[in-house]
């Protein structure tokens, strides 16, 4: 069903952003590769080519704050991300709105059966 790919892209985009923020909040701080693995375990597949630009934009939007860490974990520098206080507010808002959307969706389903 190739026609779905556009829809999938769109819906995944918003949903994944929410999931990413939820995982970052839960883990405190993450780096890219680690988060990709984590999301994979939660059946959330995201392409690497997508996640890094997303991190970049979220950091610019002050939702995430980044800092480089070298020294440990196999030698090469890694960029770690965590939620800013503003980011936490945004996440809270996103969760609320998503839940409302989901409620409306379930409501829609029950109406459908009428």
């Amino acid at each position: 069903m190739e026609q779905l790919s556009n829809w999938r892209t769109q819906i995944k985009k918003g949903y994944l952003e929410l999931c990413i923020l939820i995982r970052i909040e839960s883990k405190g701080r993450v780096y890219g590769f680690e988060l990709i693995e984590d999301l994979k375990q939660n059946q959330l597949l995201i392409k690497e080519g997508t996640i890094y630009p997303l991190f970049n934009r979220m950091a610019e939007d002050k939702i995430l704050v980044a800092h480089w860490e070298t020294a440990h974990l196999k030698g090469h520098p890694r960029k770690f991300y965590s939620l800013t206080p503003y980011g936490q507010e945004v996440l809270m808002q996103m969760k609320t709105e998503f839940e409302e959307m989901y409620k409306a969706y379930t409501q829609l389903l029950t109406d459908e059966n009428k």
Binding site: G32, E37, N56, W68, K79
Partner: protein
């Protein structure tokens, strides 16, 4: 472990990140490299080729960064820039309009038509249309800037002293010296430093002779007149020099100086008036042979020379 393949990939990535500041670009490339190195470590069964293809073409990855930034920059306020551009343009426009209004007011009347000479005078004399040519003059304010020519305009006009009683001279700006040499039987003039070669206007009306130097703009003339009954000179701005007058003379000047050099042996009756300025002491001798001299200056002086 920096293979050429990896270096090439990262180089392409860096190149594709156009418009992004150098420091940010460096971070992006470092982060991607770090990911690749992690992938190589954690998934040894995957080849570098697989990892890179999973990432996608460097240009595609760069594109995604630019796209995410594009969304952000669209939100960036363009309004202030446009607002200030508009203010800038309006300000400049207002200055131009104010300047034009000032120029028009200074050079008023804007258009006037001289029916006698068939001229259209624009901007109070700054531009004149004569026949089919356009002449710029009345530029006495700029006369120190414009180069002075060495043109000399001279002319003469026959005059019947029996029938012509009155000679009237008219000019606008400049210096005119009236002389009345003995045995002068015609009117002649010589004007120096004429910028544009225009014609002096001469009108012979049997009982009076009218000579208008106005077309010459800013003048510096000497005029020789025979001893007719009356001579009158009218000017706007400049100098009138009555050099040893032998006719009853009346000189009128709006702005400037009238100089009078009387003949030593001749009596004159002086009538002088200056609204704003100075008048020298002229002694009148009210005898039968006294020649009346009248000089009026609105703003300026009447002086002995």
């Amino acid at each position: 472990m920096n293979t050429p393949e990896l270096e090439k990939y990262l180089f392409r990535l860096d190149k594709a990140l156009t418009g992004i500041p150098v420091s940010e670009k460096a971070e992006i490339v470092t982060e991607i490299k770090s990911h690749i190195l992690d992938a190589i470590d954690r998934e040894p069964e995957q080849s570098l080729k697989d990892i890179l293809s999973s990432l996608g073409e460097p240009e595609q990855v760069a594109n995604k960064y630019l796209l995410e930034k594009g969304l952000k920059s669209k939100r960036a306020p363009r309004h202030p820039i446009i607002k200030w551009l508009i203010i800038g343009f309006l300000g400049t426009f207002a200055i131009i309009v104010a300047f034009l209004v000032f120029v028009l007011m200074y050079f008023s009347p804007v258009i006037s038509i001289n029916n006698d000479t068939g001229e259209i005078i624009i901007l109070g004399g700054a531009i004149k249309v004569q026949d089919e040519s356009i002449i710029f003059y009345d530029l006495d304010d700029f006369s120190d800037v414009l180069p002075r020519g060495s043109l000399v305009i001279s002319g003469s006009s026959a005059i019947d002293t029996q029938t012509t009683d009155n000679v009237q001279l008219r000019f606008k700006h400049g210096k005119i010296q009236i002389e009345q040499p003995k045995n002068q039987d015609h009117i002649s003039w010589s004007c120096q430093d004429i910028i544009f070669g225009n014609e002096v206007l001469v009108q012979n009306m049997i009982d009076k002779m009218y000579i208008d130097f106005s077309p010459l703009g800013d003048i510096n003339c000497v005029v020789h007149i025979p001893a007719v009954k009356t001579v009158s000179i009218r000017g706007n701005k400049g100098e009138i020099i009555l050099f040893q007058p032998r006719s009853a003379t009346s000189a009128l000047l709006d702005e400037g100086t009238i100089f009078i050099s009387p003949v030593d042996t001749q009596h004159y009756v002086y009538k002088t008036h200056v609204t704003h300025g100075n008048v020298d002491q002229f002694t009148s001798n009210n005898t039968d042979t006294a020649i009346p001299l009248e000089a009026t200056v609105e703003s300026g002086n009447i002086l002995y020379k």
